[in-house]
Symmetry: C2
Subunit: 397 residues, 2 copies
């Protein structure tokens, strides 16, 4: 009887079997579930606990039985193959990387302040850093027949989720073949997040982790891999997740004119103090904290912080581990997948009544963030990486 | 007698045997020779003729006899080896790439306008695009013994020029090993530029071409290659060619705090109309032209042009070949070494008396150029890639 009720509920509400979530999350959308942690929690730890890791679901969370789970691999010379979860865990070496994942819409709210865009109103916390473990996609493709012959025609690897809309269309997307098969690409078919089974909201039992690449290509609940000469034809590859000029509006946008977002540009944000905070005039110093990251394995090499709206700058201290703990070892060039946390403690400017605190990061290719939002504004509010600014008041106790 | 005079002159002036140069070049320094073409010539052709290709010499041009030329290769398991020019041409496949090279100091003059920096006052033309042919560095290193054993300890490849200062110190620098040996790095030991022997000013008989990487690592008159666990200790690697925060001055700069510049950030500039030009009010339209490029093999995917100082933007037309000719074929992702030329023809704003024309480029990682110069100003005036701006007057005929 109870079971029948539940099944009825599931039919009427495909989201009814979604997992429980931490109450501290800021929910941008309930169904599908999209939420981010408060900024001050985000930079409390170098590795983001899964409960605080932003959740960006396009569809209901599918219920997957790990025992009967099968991953289909298609497009290779041997034809279609399937791998069980056990196969992934036992037939291929287990590889672990620390990688930051960021939603293409992170910081969209800054674009909404300029002019309304279409999309969830993300703050600055649609980003997280985790340890991911699994089989290398490269190892799997090579074991299943990828070689010089396939390299002649293969140009993309498609990923399809087990999450499906009412019409039965699964979430799908693709990445370029070189990222998938390169020894230095570090793409994983991950079955662990932070040393435990990947939680349902993050793709249980298997998600693709494409480090350095926009969240949208890191397909959760992975059901199918296809090696192809063509890019994915999915909505999410061809019509969404692309960047356009600020002058392009919905009337004249031509999706074919822009490439699908893969690697993301350099990014940083201030997680403390919060915008609108009041600072005690009696304090000698002010401590500013935040995160910084860049796509494509480019390491963040410097973060500049300004307390006067960008007129003068000081260099923040960067770290690659928890406060007081040793840094993680430096990655090889081009494989810096993880963010840096940063901190600056500076004398409180003596006369100021209001401070505009600004941060901007520099990556190993010396790319920098743009100064302002309007020139990078785009109709979908993606790729929002202008300098981050917060205003605080300085007041007597 | 004459010969003795010449030799005396050479002792007193080590630059006396430097080659002739095209009179149209704008000379920033005569000895060593540093010069760039006028901007309007730069974008007349997709492939830059060598006479117009910027010349950035650190030292006198060495006179090298191609018959007795020997390239030393050291640090590999087999010990020191030498290769003649003939060896390079016959023992390894000839590979050709179209690659743009840019000086780290290109557009330094924009930084000088903010506050004086140290370095040659380059305009916007310390950049050029050429077809380079030669042996792949990867092929040479593999043939001479680079393999899994060397990969255990090798982290950098050093290059030394045959150009030397008074103390006998040769120009030297290094690149990371993965760029040198990757199948996708496309690093060449080039002996041809645009289908002919490399001219003396560009490194005859052999220069390293490290596509996507700052000019300073593309060593000319290559004399020695060293595979090493360490980065080059040279002045040019450790003390020059690094980027710093705008707040860093000569008193407090710590060269160890910044990485050596390798891949360059996204760049673009307007080559026509010229700054200060007068536009005929009677013209219906205005045509703006320029170049755009990004380091690390990232392709330029869009150039935005503004006629109103950055308030509104239009998308320029990009090309990868000469005007009216078919584009060069698209490179694989991450191997877009060549620039794009761009053009926008737009209605002349009817009322304006002055136009501030601005351009900014977007690359395939969706990195963008920063809006303004002061926040990226640095004491050496390197990496000057803010939006390029020119002002023109609109006047009656
Ligand atoms: Mo996303
Ligand atoms: Mo340079």
């Amino acid at each position: 009887e109870d079971r029948k009720k539940q099944e009825d509920a599931k039919v009427s509400d495909p989201f009814s079997s979604d997992p429980e979530r931490h109450p501290v999350l800021r929910v941008n959308c309930k169904k599908p579930f999209n939420a981010e942690p408060p900024p001050e929690i985000l930079t409390e730890s170098y590795i983001t606990p899964h409960v605080f890791f932003f959740k960006r679901n396009h569809l209901p969370v599918p219920q997957v039985d790990p025992a009967s789970y099968r991953l289909k691999v298609e497009g290779l010379p041997g034809g279609a193959l399937t791998l069980s979860l056990e196969d992934l865990k036992t037939r291929f070496p287990k590889h672990t990387i620390t990688a930051t994942m960021q939603c293409a819409g992170n910081r969209r709210s800054d674009m909404n302040k300029v002019k309304q865009v279409k999309g969830l109103n993300w703050g600055i916390s649609a980003i997280g850093n985790a340890k991911w473990s699994g089989a290398r996609l490269r190892d799997v493709l090579l074991a299943l027949g990828y070689g010089p012959e396939a390299a002649q025609w293969a140009r993309h690897v498609h990923f399809e989720g087990l999450d499906k809309d009412e019409t039965g269309t699964a979430y799908g997307t693709s990445i370029p073949i070189n990222k998938a098969v390169s020894e230095e690409g570090d793409v994983l078919l991950a079955y662990e997040m932070n040393g435990e089974d990947i939680p349902p909201d993050h793709g249980f039992p298997v998600r693709v982790v494409v480090p350095g690449v926009v969240g949208a290509r890191n397909v959760k609940w992975l059901g199918r891999i296809l090696v192809s000469a063509e890019e994915s034809g999915s909505h999410w590859q061809q019509h969404d997740y692309k960047g356009f000029s600020p002058g392009t509006d919905w009337n004249k946008v031509d999706p074919r004119s822009a490439p699908a977002i893969q690697e993301l540009p350099v990014q940083s944000a201030i997680t403390a103090p919060a915008d609108g905070a009041v600072i005690d005039r009696g304090d000698d110093t002010l401590t500013v904290k935040g995160y910084a990251w860049s796509g494509g394995g480019r390491e963040v090499v410097r973060v500049d912080v300004s307390l006067d709206g960008g007129r003068t700058w000081q260099v923040a201290r960067l770290r690659s581990g928890d406060d007081g703990q040793p840094d993680e070892p430096s990655p090889p060039p081009g494989r810096a997948w993880a963010w840096k946390l940063w901190e600056l403690t500076a004398p409180l400017p003596p006369e100021a009544e209001e401070l505009e605190i600004v941060c901007k990061a520099v990556d190993s290719s010396y790319n920098v963030q743009p100064d302002t939002v309007p020139p990078i504004w785009n109709l979908r509010g993606l790729l929002s990486n202008a300098w981050h600014r917060v205003k605080v008041r300085v007041a007597e106790e």
